[in-house]
């Protein structure tokens, strides 16, 4: 298990380096002078030249990349030239908002998805199964921004149950502010998870230990919820791990539509203003999140199911 974990995290590190390097090269390939955008129209040529040198933008791209990784090894993500604040501070100030949003959406999608999937599997090929299948597909097909806007209009404007914008203050208020945005981005995953759990459960329900449990006269509800569901939700762990990247990208629009702070919005704002230090800091952290969550999902699976270790 230890060797497997080391190998898995080594791969994650390699993915991280490749992704960050590609992003570094891509952001420099797009047209637009960051110094001009940062300083605005009335900055003096001297100031522009100084900032260009400060950001090492007068150096060849390969040298800029070496400087970036050199600073990174010293734990320095640089300074935001707009505000003069540390990029590390800025990124880590926004990160918790995004993590909460993703966690909330995972809870929504896992809860509804597992529930729907389990219910459908317990009633295979019935009307209920078909209805849950239709609901699942609808959820997958519903664009997240449409769900976001509709939920805003219904639950924030009309019913006034939940807040429309912001992230709130204090634990309960933050939770309250989390409901609609996490629902909006979590809903499309409900369908995937429901279909996955249904298929997985139907497979598990046919296995010998389920038959044995039934033969011992154990209540059917207990058979489904305890014996079958526990094993059937294993693939969901993998899906959630891999889905982290999608959830991160969904968080971008949720942060814009719900005017929430967060990493996604920070990245978008920074790219449009060519704020290189912030872009690289945010990309590094979000890519890191993605590869770590994927690796963790693999490790959890390997831990739960030892066959996965040997398979790899």
């Amino acid at each position: 298990m230890l060797f497997y974990a080391l190998r898995r995290f080594g791969l994650a590190l390699l993915i991280l380096i490749v992704a960050v390097t590609v992003m570094f090269l891509m952001i420099r390939a797009v047209p637009g002078d960051p110094v001009q955008i940062m300083l605005g129209p009335r900055a003096t040529p001297e100031l522009q030249a100084r900032l260009t040198a400060e950001l090492a933008l007068d150096q060849p791209v390969w040298k800029q990349l070496v400087i970036f990784y050199g600073n990174l090894l010293q734990g320095d993500l640089g300074i935001d030239v707009f505000s003069g604040r540390s990029v590390t501070d800025i990124v880590f100030q926004q990160l918790p908002h995004t993590l909460w949003l993703i966690l909330g959406s995972i809870i929504w999608s896992a809860t509804l998805g597992i529930g729907l999937g389990a219910y459908a599997a317990a009633h295979p090929n019935t009307l209920i199964d078909r209805i849950t299948a239709a609901i699942s597909v609808s959820f997958v097909a519903a664009p997240a921004f449409v769900v976001a806007l509709l939920s805003l209009l219904i639950f924030a404007v009309h019913l006034q149950w939940f807040p429309a914008i912001g992230a709130g203050e204090g634990f309960w208020d933050r939770l309250n502010h989390l409901v609609l945005p996490s629902f909006a981005i979590g809903l499309s995953w409900v369908g995937y998870i429901a279909r996955l759990v249904r298929a997985s459960m139907l497979e598990v329900m046919g296995e010998s230990h389920i038959r044995t449990a039934r033969a011992f006269g154990i209540n059917e509800r207990r058979v489904v919820m305890v014996y079958a569901l526990r094993i059937a939700i294993l693939p969901v762990v993998t899906v959630i791990g891999v889905g982290m990247g999608f959830l991160l990208s969904s968080a971008v629009f949720a942060e814009i539509v719900f005017a929430r702070p967060g990493l996604g919005k920070l990245v978008i704002d920074s790219i449009t203003t060519r704020n290189y230090p912030i872009v690289m800091g945010s990309v590094l952290i979000s890519t890191g999140l993605f590869v770590v969550s994927t690796a963790l999902a693999d490790l959890i699976n390997a831990w739960l199911d030892p066959r996965a270790r040997t398979a790899n």
Binding site: G32, F82, I165, I233, P261
Partner: protein, 520 residues
Amino acid sequence: MKIEWTKAPVGRRNFLKGATALGAAAALPMGLGSRAMAAEGGTLRVRSYGDLQSIDPAFSKGVIDEEIHASIYNKLIQYKPGREWDWQMDAAAMIEQGDETHIKFALRDDIGFTNGFGAMTAEDVKFSFERIVADETESPNKPDMGPLSHVEVTGEREGTIVLKEPFAPLWSIALPYITGNIVSKKAWEAAGGKATTDPLAESGPYLRDSWSPKEKTVLKRNPDWKGEAPAWDTIEILPIDDENTAEIAFEAGELDFTRVSLGSVQRYRDGVPNGGTLLEYPSLYYTWLGMNLDHPKLQNKKLRQAIQHAIDVPSVLEAAYFGAVDPSTGIIAPGLAGNRPQSLVPPQADFAKAAELLADSGETNVTLKLDTLNKTTFTTAAQVIQATLAQIGITVEVNVLESGAFWASADNEDLQLVLNRYSMTPDPYYATSWFTTEQVGHWNWERFSNEEYDQIHTSASQLTDQAKRAEMYQRAQDLMEESGAYRFLTHEATPVVHSAGVVPALRPDGLALLRYFGKA
């Protein structure tokens, strides 16, 4: 110190139990708690279209920062809320123009800085103004101070602003806007001359209580403020860049004041939710179609004039701005000296004349590229222009660019047609400054170069005779239009909505002067 790891008692069986329990727990209803509503408990909640960048007036990025600066600092004079551009006293107890280059002032004796930095003195005014123009500060806002020479301190609270030459925008930009904010000399020196996002010392009716980046700036009443008491205990400024989101937040009762999209104006004219009110203000922005005079395809003046006459401005405005704005006559907005009553080329297209001009030009099979920002308003406007130019046989390819690439167009030699929009401060000097010969390759994308225009830009800012100034700026816009490089479109508009409990205080262009906001 030795760290000892304790093995967590989580086996596979326990993990699975826990995971199932977590899923069940998540199914419980949550988030049904009460919401914080706007205008409750003396809190005013307003929307800003961006987040704070700098607390230092020398490095302020414009309106977003200034909304906060104007509340926590003082100026000698501030803009007066209303429909006409005017100013009123702020930190100044007296201010008068001695001669064209000397302005005497006396400070009120009841304004002090926080954090123990003492009373506001003429030394603070001298420090604040002179650091803006000092080369070592490298302030991008330096041009706003124009030809400031220095400030003479003639008493503890008295002094004279000395200019190198007359500068009319002193009263419309330099003193009542960003560069006019007076900071504490002692505080700035104690901090090594730099402030980023945390105030060093404040003096206004409000103090910045907290700032959560990308989330909220909270202003609280300054308990030591001796001037007229501000109406609100707390002001929360929420950075929301999307107008539709802001409108939803307003309708949900979470905002008291916001600018709304032009597309929503008609809906709000029919009624504003929650007993609110729609206010429509003109804007200082100016939008135009520019033609690069240096591009080989646009050398022929008759062709450029044909393009001018073929663009139907009302159609562009109807499609792109939902008919909620008026055509502009130039770069200087109504209400400012130099605004032209009408443009040389009427806003309505004259296709017959355009076709005639195109025939006279001798150009055939004209194909041009039109660069524009990737905003719906501009892409729509570009498509209408594309359609109208097609009527006289000119083919236009619309090239949509994201903001970073678009704003790097200054050195784009292949730039042909461009749909552009600049903002400005309330003085014609600001608008004309971007179209001088000196700005070719920087912000003068049309590469328009005219000696008379350059002369007007330089000399009109030194005139105190507003009528003469207006005449000169009108001539400057005639010259722009006569070059054939410009088709002026609109100054846009600033529609805002406010809730029933709020009495907004706005500049004539609809921007908020938060310190003067009242309660209904």
